[in-house]
Every structure is written in structure tokens, then in C-alpha cells.
């Protein structure tokens, strides 16, 4: 049986592969850089159409900027779930599983691209918001923001591997991912809690995603709906939970996929 060194070796192999492929899709990167400003405008104005006067409110502009920053983070990781189905269709997944590697490790290569998307797309969004909408960007808790980003990244990394396993046998997994990338962040804290009606505020805390998403926005606005130490502790706990859940589901669903012979989907 292979030990820890091999585990690290596999992780490094996945990371290196992810970076190499990312570097070879320059047209994609270029297209992302052109697309993001337009999508930022689209999202901002779609929400602010209801109250155009808020375009003059620095607080709301700042809050919505971090709201979309959160969306980029969640969306990037969610799309990495699609990678597993593609990998299965291209016959790569079968070979990877043959090596004894796990789905979580295989996902690492794609998740590196998600990190890079965030690393490039996040600052670009902040820049567009500041330059295009005149937002005075502000982070109320600068020491909590990196923790919030790390926790959210870890959570969505494991969550995306769960989603990937659940979706691997579907013909069009992108549909569910496309819906989930909007529903999850915008119903679980990406929209600043303080602007929501009290009934929704009361219900939102029951969403597990809230505890990893809310800190990203609240660390910027300074309006933590629940004390930060509690939210972040719960978020840490959720990361551990989702890690074990991803391991469990990977075993269960992989076995079921192996029984159905559904790796190649069709």
C-alpha cells in the first residue's frame, strides 16, 4: 500500500497538471478577462434596477461588490464539479481510479484552476467596481477576510467533490451546476443579511452554506449577523464535516457507479 509520500506526490501531480493545462488555455483566460467586466455590470444592474438610487450609496456598492466576489468564489468551485463528468467522458477518470487515486485528489487539479480564477477574477472585480462604479472598497475586518476566504475555499472544494460524484452519471451536469452556482450563494448570505426582510433573516441561519458564505461579505461590511467567532467556528466544523461526507459519499457513490458501469454516461 502506498504511504504519505505517495499521497503528497499524487497531490503535486494533480496540481502541476492543473497549472500546465491552465497555462495552455490562454484563449480561455483571455476570454475570462474580457467577459468578467461585462458580467459584473450585468449582475450589478440586474439587482440595482429595483433601486437605481443605491448606485449612489457607498455602503451598498461595497456590499454588493463583495457579494459578487463571493459569487465568483462559489461559482468557480461549483464548476469544478463538471470536470469529473468531463473526465469520465474522456476516459481519464477510469485510468485515474486504476492508479488507486481518489476523486478528491483528482479534483485538486481542477480546483487549482478555481483558485486561480478567484486570484485573477476577484481583484479584477474589485478593480471594475472601483473604477466603473466608483465604489470606495472597504474591508471592515481585514484579519477575518483571509480566514473567511480560506474556510470558504476549503468548504467548497470538498463540497464540489461531493457534487461531482453525485453528478458524474448525468448527461448534462452543467444544468444543475448552473442553477446551484446562483441559488447557493444568493440564498445563503451573499446578499448582505441586513438588507433582507426579517422573515428571511430568521430562516437564513438554517442554511449550512450561510456559515461559510456570510463571513466573506460580513468581513467587508462589518455587519456580522452572528458573532464572527461563532460563525467561523461553525464554518470550520462544517469544513471537517463536509470532508468526511465527501469521503463517505465518494465510497458509496463510486461503488454504485461501478455497479451501474455509468462512468462513460451513455
Amino acid at each position: 500500500m502506498l504511504g504519505r509520500a505517495a499521497f503528497i506526490g499524487r497531490a503535486l501531480a494533480e496540481v502541476e497538471k492543473g497549472l500546465t493545462i491552465y497555462a495552455r488555455y490562454k484563449v480561455w483566460l483571455f476570454s475570462d478577462l474580457i467577459s468578467w467586466p461585462f458580467w459584473t455590470i450585468f449582475f450589478f444592474l440586474s439587482f440595482l434596477m429595483y433601486s437605481p438610487s443605491l448606485l449612489g450609496s457607498q455602503y451598498h456598492l461595497n456590499a454588493f461588490t463583495w457579494c459578487f466576489f463571493t459569487f465568483i468564489l462559489v461559482s468557480s468551485f461549483m464548476w469544478s464539479s463538471n470536470f469529473l463528468a468531463t473526465s469520465a467522458q474522456e476516459g481519464i477518470l477510469e485510468y485515474v481510479l486504476m492508479t488507486g487515486s481518489s476523486i478528491r485528489q483528482h479534483m485538486l487539479g481542477r480546483s487549482i484552476i478555481s483558485f486561480l480564477d478567484l486570484a485573477v477574477g476577484g481583484p479584477l472585480l474589485l478593480l471594475i467596481s472601483a473604477a466603473g462604479f466608483g465604489t470606495n472598497l472597504h474591508v471592515a475586518y481585514p484579519y477575518l477576510m483571509p480566514i473567511a476566504i480560506l474556510l470558504a475555499s476549503a468548504f467548497f472544494y470538498f463540497f464540489s467533490s461531493i457534487l461531482a460524484v453525485l453528478l458524474v452519471s448525468l448527461r448534462s451536469p452543467w444544468i444543475i451546476i448552473n442553477v446551484a452556482q446562483f441559488v447557493i450563494p444568493f440564498t445563503s448570505g451573499a446578499i448582505p443579511v441586513e438588507v433582507l426582510p426579517p422573515e428571511i433573516q430568521a430562516g437564513i441561519i438554517y442554511s449550512p452554506f450561510f456559515y461559510v458564505i456570510h463571513p466573506l461579505v460580513a468581513s467587508a461590511t462589518g455587519n456580522y449577523f452572528i458573532p464572527p467567532e461563532i460563525v467561523l467556528s461553525v464554518a470550520g466544523g462544517l469544513c471537517i464535516l463536509v470532508y468526511f461526507l465527501s469521503r463517505f459519499l465518494e465510497d458509496v457513490l463510486l461503488r454504485s457507479a461501478l455497479k451501474r458501469g455509468k462512468f462513460t454516461l451513455f
Binding site: 505517495a6 506526490g9 497538471k17 500546465t20 474522456e90 477510469e94 488507486g100 455497479k259
Partner: protein, 316 residues
């Protein structure tokens, strides 16, 4: 201990049959139906049969990628379901030879990637990958992106990948499909060399000539059931397939003989016969010709091919 042993393997699929725009019905395909077989260590074992007979399903079950509905199988002494990870460590696999690699990585990078997943260090993996690129004849093409590869190059890379972890047993699902004659010959030689070094090769192929020349054991599968097992010569013998014998007589006209005589390509009479006892019948005919005082120009004995074996077995 056998390299591969399986007993009572069964795998049925339920498939949707479409009728027009909206209608469909289900039917059951018996991909494997009570399959039992054993493969000795260090041999080349071939599984042959028509399309959809269950060959790839068998390879997938034995390589831990598909859990059977019933029955059990051991590869290298490990159970393919309960000890799947153990099995994976000791086997190499080629499935569809044109798939399984990242399009935007080079052949070399793809091999190094898989080598590292098998637990090799980066240096070790690179060295092994280069070695395998040379062995399979890809050489410098290893530096090109996989998406630029021809089908033959992809097939070679698949075989290289199957060997990256120095496996004890390799499963090759149609390894020479799409290869040019020289490349196919190179791969066949490689397969022979691997077996000579003690590796067990389990392969499927539609090229009967290749199977006949490479295999120690051939198994014929039809609709998920094994219908014949043996070495190529055993199978021919068991089916009592006839040899074709031609004896050319140096004479101006056809002599009066017990066998039919026709005029051959060189203009001499040729005795032609089909027999299950080639040695005895050949001696008898030669004696008869010599007894009549004629010289013999040429003797040709044509062995029945494995293709004939397959045709006979499958048409039953």
C-alpha cells in the same frame, strides 16, 4: 496461484431502446452470463468474439472498473471487488486506445502524470515515461500535445501508460487497433517480450492472425458466455478442422488418381484434398504419385486458421 481466476461471473445491463421522438422500451443485455475461466501466469491470453459479446465488460470487471452482479474473480490472488486497490497496484490497462489522456498535455506529460499517481517520484516517473516512449516507438513524438496525435500514436501511448507502473498483469483491449503494419508488429513484439519476462497479458482483439500468433490460450465468448477455450492448435484439433493439401505433379497431363486432379498455376497437374489427418494422407498421396513414376514439383499444406475456428464456433 493463477494470474486470473473467475467463477460464475454475471453482468446484465438494462438498456433503453428508442422508438421515434418520444417512445422507448427497455431490454436486458447479458454482457456476462456465468463466465468462469483461469489464466496461468506469464502467458498471453486472448479473449475473442463478435462485437457486443462481452469482451470489454470482462476486461472492466477484471480490472476493477465494473462490479459484477454475481460470481467472483481474482487477479493476482486478490479479489477484484473486495481488494480492488490491491488489484489496481499490480495491473496495467488499455481500454479505448484513443481516450484517457489530457488533450492539452504532451504524451510525455500525460505519462509522467499517471506515473506519479501510481506513486513514482517525479524523476522516476519521467525516466520511466521516456523509456516507454522509446519502447513503444513514440520517441520524440512524446513532446507533442495529445490532441495532435493520430489514432496509432494514441494507441501506443495507451500501451505505454499501461506499463508505467511495471504491472504483473496487463489488460489490453484491442491494443493494435488503428496501428500501421510496422507499428502493430512492434507492439506485438513488445507483448511477446513482456510475456517472456513473466508478465501475464490478457488481451482482446478482432485480428485473428494476431491472436493466433501471440496467444498461448484463446477463449471465445459469445453473448456473454464462453463457448470455447484452448490453445489455437487445440481449438483446431477439437473442432476437427480440415487441412488443405496440394501436391504438384511434374507431368504433361493429369494422371488417373484416387484424388481429384486439376491444372495448377504453373500449368502442371495438382492433386488437391482436404483432410483431418494431414501427415498420413500426404504420405499416401506422395507414395501413389511416386509409384506411378512421376516427380513431385511442390507440396503445400495449408493449416486451418483461427478465423475458421471462430467462424465455426460462432455459427453453432
Amino acid at each position: 496461484m493463477k494470474a486470473i481466476a473467475c467463477e460464475g461471473l454475471r453482468k446484465h445491463y438494462r438498456v433503453k431502446v428508442r422508438r421515434g421522438f418520444f417512445n422507448h422500451e427497455y431490454s436486458v443485455i447479458k454482457a456476462l452470463d456465468d463466465v468462469s475461466l483461469e489464466v496461468e501466469r506469464g502467458v498471453i491470453f486472448s479473449l475473442v468474439g463478435p462485437n457486443g459479446a462481452g469482451k470489454t465488460t470482462m476486461v472492466k470487471v477484471l480490472s476493477t472498473l465494473l462490479i459484477p452482479d454475481a460470481g467472483r474473480a481474482e487477479v493476482g490472488g486478490y479479489d477484484v471487488v473486495r481488494q480492488a486497490n490491491r488489484v489496481r497496484e499490480i495491473i496495467g490497462l488499455v481500454l479505448a486506445p484513443d481516450k484517457g489522456f489530457y488533450a492539452r498535455l504532451t504524451g510525455l506529460e500525460n505519462l509522467i502524470y499517471y506515473g506519479r499517481l501510481y506513486g513514482l517520484s517525479k524523476e522516476e516517473s519521467t525516466r520511466r515515461a521516456k523509456e516507454l516512449l522509446d519502447l513503444t516507438g513514440l520517441g520524440e513524438d512524446g513532446m507533442r500535445l495529445f490532441e495532435e496525435y493520430s489514432l496509432g500514436m494514441r494507441a501506443k501511448l495507451s500501451i505505454a501508460k499501461a506499463l508505467i507502473n511495471k504491472p504483473e498483469i496487463v489488460f489490453l483491449d484491442e491494443p493494435t487497433i488503428g496501428l500501421d503494419p510496422l507499428s502493430a508488429r512492434r507492439i506485438r513484439q513488445l507483448i511477446k517480450d513482456l510475456a517472456a519476462k513473466g508478465m501475464t497479458v490478457f488481451m482482446t482483439s478482432h485480428n485473428m492472425w494476431e491472436v493466433e500468433n501471440l496467444s498461448n490460450t484463446v477463449t471465445v465468448i459469445k453473448s456473454g458466455r464462453i463457448v470455447a477455450v484452448g490453445s489455437p492448435s487445440e481449438l483446431k484439433e477439437r473442432l476437427k478442422l480440415s487441412y488443405r493439401i496440394e501436391v504438384e505433379i511434374i507431368a504433361d497431363k493429369a494422371p488417373d488418381m484416387n484424388q481429384p486432379v486439376s491444372i495448377g498455376e504453373r500449368g502442371y497437374p495438382v492433386v488437391t484434398m482436404t483432410t483431418n489427418k494431414p501427415s498420413e494422407d500426404l504420405v499416401r498421396v506422395i507414395d501413389e504419385i511416386r509409384g506411378m513414376g512421376y516427380l513431385i514439383g511442390m507440396v503445400r499444406v495449408q493449416e486451418p486458421s483461427l478465423e475458421e475456428v471462430l467462424t465455426q464456433v460462432l455459427s453453432r
